[in-house]
Subunit: 155 residues, 2 copies
Amino acid sequence: MITKNTSAPAVDATLRAWGLRLTRQRRIILEVVHATDAHPTAAFVYRRVRRRLPRVSLATVYRNLRRLAAEGFLAERADPSGVRFDGNTAPHDHFTCVACGRIYDVPTRATRGVRARIAVRSGFEVLNHRVEFYGRCGACRRQGGRSPVKGQRRS
Amino acid sequence: MITKNTSAPAVDATLRAWGLRLTRQRRIILEVVHATDAHPTAAFVYRRVRRRLPRVSLATVYRNLRRLAAEGFLAERADPSGVRFDGNTAPHDHFTCVACGRIYDVPTRATRGVRARIAVRSGFEVLNHRVEFYGRCGACRRQGGRSPVKGQRRS
DNA sequence: TTTGTTGTTGATAATGATTACTAAAAATAC
DNA sequence: GTATTTTTAGTAATCATTATCAACAACAAA
């Protein structure tokens, strides 16, 4: 079982509604992103997809990641390390460990209510919000390392 | 009055403590960022600085923005439109209008307490956090425009 | 003041990520 | 089957950013 929560027929139907086809490349790109929780970069996805489709083009990976994100099959986010994709399109926050670089998903329970409060105070219409935490994860705290690791893979 | 909350002597002293000099270029770059609330990109800063120092190099602007941010005189943040700098180094959140592209500062009152809640729930050590809101600002709501504007200047 | 050391600059080349372009292949419609 | 549309692989082009380096400026020691 490679995909996590995307069934190919359902994806196919929705894609078709937008005039897109579920090609082999597109399906595998989607599967790769869904099969990892590493919040991968385009380059990471490219490397993984190439294991199964050695002749795939980097441009195809970019084109489809962009497209799939635009249609809502993936989430796309920019952070200091670059652009990353996320197969988890449900609302959630992120915790980035400054020691090991790992990005953890965090349930939104703790930040619930924030959006409504801002809307009231500012008079703006809030459509979306994003919370990013930075710190040291449990594993890195136990290892006791002090300073952020240099030269971590962007993966 | 060009600078907002950075007095040159104080900056000079702190820079010197790090072995950095407050050169003409460095001072003007700092002033330009502090003089706008537009959360400027490096290119924007370059254009502004060039008005006062026509022979300044783009590399000098990048070099100093990076450096000044590392020393804490500026804040640096990445968002979908690229890397931006912020003269306001006090804790605050951001609201990005998807219609006009403007980025507003938002006081952190509404998000207070969020960090502590996450720390307790996850067992991670939270050093920092960032909240970004997306929606339509007061001006754009009144104008009644529906969809996000294409091709807005990255300024 | 001269000399040495270190930090800084402007100019430009190099890099890395992303996008644009294009001819060929694949999928679908007729 | 043929025609039409979409997608692809391959590659060139673009854009932001960083690296390199020779010339220059600030400061310190002699």
